[in-house]
Amino acid sequence: MTKPIITFENVTKRFGKLAAVDNVSLTVNEGEFFALLGPSGCGKTTLLRMLAGFETPTEGRILIDGQDISNTPPNKRPVNMVFQSYAVFPHMTVADNVAYGLKVDRVPKADRDARVAEALELVQLGGLGERKPDQLSGGQRQRVALARALVKRPRVLLLDEPLSALDAKLREQMRTELCTLQEKVGITFIMVTHDQDEALALATRCAVMSKGVLQQVATPSDLYEFPNSRFVADFIGQVNLFEGVLAVDEPSHAVIKSPDLPVDIFLDHGVTGPRGGTAWAAIRPEKIELHKKEGDEPPNLGDCPKGFNAVAGVIKHEAYLGGSSTYEVEIAGGRRVKVQRSNLTRWDQEDFKLGETVWLCWHACSPAVLLS
């Protein structure tokens, strides 16, 4: 089932002295919705443009279906791209835009018209073929760009920040549509985005990049729950990072001592890291529970010995977000911890007040341990 369609082999791209892409090796499988994710300037767009043929690698090879296409010009590659600006030809009608790539391929007119109509129907622009691009909304123009690329039946569809130019509501809707579209046409999609929510929501697998280097390639849930570095943990979602020392590391459990926390962090699994070496515990805000402070006995979630994984603090900041509320809790030593709490009933937001002293606690399985 997992048949590689695209392979980057030690690909490096230098602009002058700067390595925009630094020794990247990566495989994308047939049928995947793959996301290249990272902050601006991390090299993700350069990687995509090398795939499209607008840039050539300084070193390394790019293979599509096992064929080296590193130096193939863009018009001879079995990939098509949806541009960030959509790049819909303003002097042609919608139908002419979509037919553009088929005319070059000398597809007979009858066949061409049928395919154009089918593609427009696919992106829900049926009947708008005679419109000019300036008579379309931004979302519709993007659909034209999608139809224009898909009508060529490419092996891989490349999407450069496909949702960045749309407003929030439309973006939400297009996310779902892109997913449905990909399932329908069964073409491999590769998307570049700086928006982690977008990547998590759409992709079957993501590659996180930073400064031209591939940081982690994993499914969205693995990226979020099992990040392999502080960069990934911090880039994907919110996180509380506690720097400390790996004090205990047994097959069944481990303990991290952090100077930032008055208690030690207990983990219900071994880490197999260097004993006594630096380690970071990454705890997501929603994985920390808030408890009312009644008495001096810290709450215990039942999966760790007493004296671990619970700390008292004062709520210094709260933000009501509708579905959830976020709190910043200051613990002994002055460190602020981010906590997110779902508002399960209409009254939950009123449970905790600014300035209130509370207990924070978390399960022994919640922290992710990072060694870099």
Binding site: A52, Y100, G101, V104, K152
Partner: protein, 302 residues
């Protein structure tokens, strides 16, 4: 600076006043006088009587002069076409040059503007005349070839006949193209530079080669730039005076040369004035055509 002139009439009047007076005194008034002359006739050596006659205009469209008008339009049109053909690749090359090279290339295009037209035209004469650099170069090649032929045992080529490159229509067209090329390149460049480059990438991405991309995407979207380039090349080329005067032969006269003769040697100001205004009306027509065309073509948007 959000205020409109309605809110600060005094300031606006003070700013507009001097240039307005200047324009009326030294541009509109003389034009009006010449325009009035075109409806008059010579009533003595320096006296012109304005009688409201259309005689001068009638004379100007007699076959003798009409032919020169048409020829001027033809020469200007050919010049414009050659400038477009030569200038488009140049503008395209500048657009896609690196930022550093771009500045140098633009400088090279504009450099001739900083040199006097007369000097440039005489330089062209030095290049084209019978003993000019082109003929010298050709002669050197000819003699070299001749010597080579003799060396391998063939008949020598005979004496070199210099090409007649000067004082003919060819020289006029060449000179006009040379002088007007920057007028074409600069508006083309500014149109091409504004073009969204991802449109070209999209075209390549969809399987189209470079040449086809130029004709299917770049040229249609550069139409407004092409139109303004054509216009500001055609108008000065139509009124060219110095180039046909210095480089042309007896049959290379253009309207401006005829007009000059009326004001000087023929001392027939009313007739010269009538022809001047006919030339101006031609220019207006060209501008009107361009305005209509540019309304029809959609502006390239990103």
């Amino acid at each position: 600076m959000e205020q409109s002139w309605k809110q600060a009439k005094a300031v606006f009047a003070a700013a507009l006043g001097p240039p307005l007076v200047w324009l009326v005194l030294f541009f509109l008034a003389p034009m009006a006088i010449v325009w009035a002359y075109s409806f008059g006739h010579n009533a003595g050596l320096t006296e012109i009587e304005i009688t409201g006659t259309f005689h001068n205009y009638a004379r100007a469209i007699e076959p003798l002069y009409l032919k020169i008008f048409l020829k001027s339009v033809w020469v200007a049109a050919l010049t414009t076409a050659l400038c477009l053909v030569a200038g488009f690749p140049v503008a395209l090359a500048i657009t896609f040059a690196s930022d550093k090279t771009k500045a140098w290339l633009l400088l090279l295009v504009m450099l001739p503007f900083w040199t006097n037209l007369l000097i440039r035209t005489y330089a062209l004469i030095a290049v084209l005349r019978t003993e000019g650099y082109v003929n010298q170069g050709l002669e050197w090649l000819w003699n070299g070839g001749s010597g080579l032929a003799a060396l391998v045992g063939l008949q020598p080529l005979g004496d070199f006949q210099p090409l007649e490159l000067l004082h003919n229509n060819f020289a006029v067209i060449l000179g006009l193209v040379y002088v007007h090329l920057p007028f074409m390149v600069l508006p083309l460049y500014s149109a091409l530079d504004r073009l969204d480059k991802s449109l070209l990438e999209a075209s390549l991405d969809l399987g189209t080669g470079h040449l086809r991309t130029i004709f299917k995407v770049v040229v249609p979207l550069a139409i407004p730039g092409i139109a303004s380039g054509v216009l500001i090349t055609f108008i000065p080329a139509l009124g060219a005076y110095l180039t046909p005067d210095l480089l042309g032969g007896p049959d290379s006269q253009m309207i401006a040369n005829i007009i000059e003769r009326q004001f000087k040697r023929a001392n027939d100001w009313p007739f010269g004035a009538a022809m001047s205004f006919l030339l101006m009306y031609l220019t207006f027509i060209a501008i009107a055509i361009q305005a209509v065309l540019s309304k029809k073509t959609p502006e390239a948007k990103g």
